[in-house]
């Protein structure tokens, strides 16, 4: 099957190469089901084609109307599939129970899903890095760093709507539901960088709610952890980091071109009067930025009344962090200089 289906982009036909302990069971079951499907489908199609030919309407031939019922055959084709699906069910359920039984002594990662970014917090309180990635729709993505050969537990919550945490290479998926914690665990088996998708529709940029999972050696993991707790001293640098890490960049453009995303651009507004949805104007200053971070819907910019509503960051950012973000936005006053 690989021979037919593998194309020039991917060397594999169906599943991406696996990197978690769930892979053997899932891949085994899927392969068996595939062959069961082939064993049913091919004879069905052959029979269909043969009957079409052998019993076709033609001069001098009249079919026999006798074969209308045969207890033995009918019982066989009821019982045999039943036995097969019972086995598939059993195998699937056992695999699933292994997936949902979380072992003791896991490394815990807090996952927050929000429109439209994944945020990861390690158990030392450090937060994820955002880095440039090759060949993706989104230029920069959150990077979740995990150690190899360890049990990892994701403690997941959502800030807004439903999301779903999916790493194809781990064969692992779990919805992230607002109002409760959902858990997902896996055992990493192979170093490498893997795709992480949101698979529950969550609005405008659902398809750009991506991340990369980097499975590294224990030593590199410890290095990443140490780096994760640091935020730069310099307010501007800190603001830049927060702009990406907090997911502002998924909606608000800060690039020189000033193009707008789902939210208004930060670019070149500082110190000016900006038009609001309700027809009035407001000074784009420290107070406006602060209010817009803590209570985003209070003064919606003109043209953004129907945009997907932004979450409040009240309680999630410290005052110094808001200061840093203000410093960053202020730096975009003379737009052309400020790179994204």
């Amino acid at each position: 099957m690989n021979f037919i289906l593998a194309d020039k982009v991917q060397p594999y036909a169906w599943f991406p190469d696996g990197a978690s302990s769930f892979v053997p069971q899932v891949d085994f079951l899927f392969t068996v089901i595939m062959w069961i499907c082939v064993l049913f489908f091919v004879p069905i199609v052959i029979a269909m084609g043969y009957f079409m030919w052998a019993f076709r309407e033609r001069p001098g031939y009249r079919g026999s109307p006798e074969a209308l019922h045969n207890n033995l055959i009918e019982i066989t084709w009821t019982v045999v599939p039943t036995i097969i699906v019972v086995w598939i069910f059993w195998e699937g359920a056992m695999g699933y129970l292994d997936m949902s039984r979380i072992p003791k002594g896991t490394i815990d990662v807090n996952v927050t899903a929000k429109k439209w970014q994944w945020a990861f917090k390690y158990d030392n309180g450090g937060e994820h890095e955002v880095a440039a990635v090759e060949g993706s729709v989104v230029k920069e993505l959150p990077i979740l760093v995990l150690p190899v050969d360890r049990d990892i537990k994701m403690i997941m919550r959502s800030d807004d709507v439903l999301h779903s945490f999916y790493i194809p290479a781990f064969r692992a998926k779990r919805d992230v539901v607002p109002g409760r914690y959902n858990y997902l665990w896996f055992h990493t088996t192979k170093e490498g960088t893997y795709d992480l998708f949101c698979t529950e529709y969550c609005g405008d940029n659902h398809s750009q709610m991506l991340a990369k999972v980097k499975v590294v050696s224990e030593a590199e993991y410890q290095k990443a952890l140490a780096k994760a707790i640091q935020e730069p001293e310099d307010p501007l640098e800190r603001g830049k980091l927060l702009y990406k890490r907090q997911g502002c960049s998924t909606c608000h453009n800060a690039g020189a071109e000033g193009a707008s995303g789902p939210g208004p651009s930060y670019n070149g507004s500082w110190g000016k009067k900006v038009a609001l949805e309700n027809g009035s104007e407001v000074d784009f200053d420290e107070n406006y930025v602060r209010e817009s971070i803590l209570n985003p819907q209070a003064k919606a910019r003109k043209g953004y009344g129907k945009a997907s509503p932004m979450n409040s960051y009240a309680g999630k950012l410290k005052d110094e962090q808001i200061d840093a973000l203000i410093t960053f936005i202020k730096s975009l006053e003379n737009t052309a200089a400020a790179g994204k």
């Binding site: 169906w14 079409m52 079919g63 064969r171 698979t199 940029n205 398809s207 009344g305």
Partner: protein, 558 residues
């Protein structure tokens, strides 16, 4: 095999009234004679026009989606527009096309004739169903097109509560509410008609299998649709009044909405597929000129699917974090539905065995159905099994799976049914060669569209993505080429049907050699269907039906 007790009602020789000058289409004239008609045949035709128009609209949106996905980014739609377009596609196809397609259009036309009666039990209720459907359609389309609904057809909370397209959610859910009543009334009408108006001689097990399927469907419509009504009312109440049942901000549980929603929408899947299976049972036996194999098993399996179909909604929530026991139980129940579906496929094949297989347009569509539905059914297995579903859930694998069942299944069967009964409905024969060409193009285009999506899904491509990773692009492009082919095939099918109205030969009474009652009255049928209640025997006894070259029609040997 039972023998027909005595000749079917109309005593006139087949030649004499083969081409009636007076029939239901010209029985009365003028707009109002259609708008206020109580004739089930005219209502059925109006539904047919309506659902086909809805399908064309939904299909255009599907092509927009596929063209947008040609490139992995910077397609011709913005992300937001893409989301609105896939919402439109799904919502129109589900609520306006697939659910009413077979029962309301073909069911309305055929059910009373197959029962040898003049009309359904409640003709006025039937007309009101149609107008409810039209009202729902107008509300729904207005909501969708004016305001830009972007929740997906599933209206999942809390997105549907907090989206800024709030007016759209309310208007669309009200549209769904009204459409639901249309569906309930139709189901009620059919149940009463089948229970009380069967002609002398037609015991339950002498009923055409299409009627069994419609009966099973009607039961689901009557029992499940009210839950959809409750769900959308609760959603509106949440949106307007903030009652705190689904909204996590008010201590509600968004997954509760999913349970409510799928309690209707999963049985609704069987509202979509069961009548299609009924069509295939008719088509296979008529075009093989042989009685259906395992009649009772097919009839029982329709009922079994209808009942089990109520118990499997949880498999839409396997990844939502529900309790392990619940997930395991729902997985087990899900597999129970696969057995009756498999039995039907085997029985249809058994019907071909030693038959006399006529290859024509309806039969080609029926064979395409068996091929596609088998793939659709088998690919349900890794989705029903829990551990593999963790990988496939909400990926393109699911998209391909349900398109194989819903489109390769229901739509293809619907087309087969439309071609099969077209001569009866319009009195015209279509160009069979061109019809067969359309079936072949549809078959090829369909597989080219959706087979690559199985591969995409297993490689991890999530559904409802406006942009995607570059490595998925070749398969997406293959799928897009397939969808354009499919569109061309469907367009050709429409042309073939419409051309027949212009220059089609007049249809004989029984062009295919069917043994059910609708082939005993003229094409098109007279206003009253039958002058007196016919007596019926076995609907699948073809032993005395022979082709008569003089009239160009199959006739009953007396």
């Amino acid at each position: 095999m039972s023998v027909v007790d005595r000749p079917i009602a109309s005593p006139v020789s087949p030649e004499a009234d083969s081409y009636p000058t007076h029939h239901f289409l010209n029985h009365s004239k003028g707009f109002l004679s259609w708008a206020l008609t109580l004739d089930h045949k005219r209502i059925g035709l109006m539904y047919l026009v309506g659902v086909m128009a809805s399908f064309a609209l939904g299909g255009l949106f599907a092509l927009m989606i596929r063209i947008h996905l040609w490139n992995f980014k910077d397609g011709w739609l913005s992300n937001q527009t893409y989301n609105q377009v896939f919402t439109l596609h799904g919502a129109i196809m589900v609520f306006l096309f697939i659910i009413p397609s077979v029962p309301a259009a073909l069911g309305n036309f055929l059910l009373p004739i197959m029962l040898g009666t003049k009309d359904v039990a409640f003709p006025r209720l039937n007309l009101s169903s149609f107008y409810l459907w039209v009202t729902g359609l107008v509300l729904f389309l207005t909501a969708l097109s004016v305001t830009g609904l972007d929740t997906g057809w599933t209206f999942y909370t809390p997105y549907s509560i907090e989206t800024s397209q709030g007016g759209a959610v309310l208007a669309a859910t009200f549209g769904v509410f009204v459409l639901g009543f249309s569906s309930i009334f139709t189901g009620l009408n059919f149940i009463v008609t089948i229970n009380t108006m069967r002609p002398p001689g037609m015991t339950w097990f002498r009923m055409p299998l299409f009627l069994w399927a419609v009966y099973a469907t009607s039961i689901i419509q009557v029992l499940a649709t009210p839950v959809l009504g409750i769900t959308v009312l609760l959603l509106s109440a949440e949106r307007l009044l903030g009652i705190g049942i689904f909204d996590p901000k008010l201590n509600g549980d968004p997954v509760t909405f999913q349970h409510f929603f799928w309690f209707y929408s999963h049985p609704a899947v069987y509202i979509m597929i069961l009548p299609a299976m009924g069509i295939i049972s008719e088509l296979m036996s008529v075009h093989c000129h042989k009685g259906i194999f395992g009649y009772r098993m097919i009839a029982y399996s329709s009922i079994a699917i209808a009942l089990f179909g109520f118990l499997v909604w949880g498999h839409h929530m396997f990844t939502s974090g529900m309790a392990d026991v619940t997930a395991v139980v729902f997985s087990a129940l899900t597999f129970t539905v696969s057995i009756p579906s498999a039995i039907k496929v085997f029985n249809w094949l058994g019907t071909m065995y030693q038959g006399t297989v006529s290859l024509n347009t309806p039969m080609l569509y029926a064979l395409a159905f068996i091929f596609l539905f088998t793939i659709g059914g088998l690919t349900g297995l890794p989705l029903g099994a829990l551990s593999t579903d963790m990988h496939f859930h909400d990926t393109y694998f699911v998209v391909a799976h349900f398109h194989y069942v819903m489109m390769g299944g229901t739509l293809v069967a619907f087309l087969g049914g439309v071609f099969h009964w077209w001569p009866k409905m319009t009195g015209r024969m279509f160009n069979d060669k061109l019809g067969m060409v359309s079936a072949i193009i549809v078959f090829i285009g369909f597989n080219m569209t959706f087979l690559p999506q199985f591969v995409l899904g297993s490689r991890g491509m999530p559904r409802r993505y406006a942009t995607y990773l570059p490595e998925f692009q070749p398969l997406h492009q293959l799928s897009t080429i397939g969808s354009l082919t499919l569109g061309a095939g469907l367009f050709l099918a429409l042309v073939v049907l419409l051309l027949s109205l212009v220059n089609g030969k007049k249809a004989p009474r029984n062009p295919w050699g069917g043994a059910t009652l609708e082939w005993m009255c003229s094409s098109p049928p007279p206003h009253d269907n039958f002058s007196s209640a016919p007596t019926v025997g076995d609907p699948y006894d073809f032993s005395d039906i022979e082709y008569d070259g003089r009239v160009g029609s199959y006739v009953k040997r007396s």
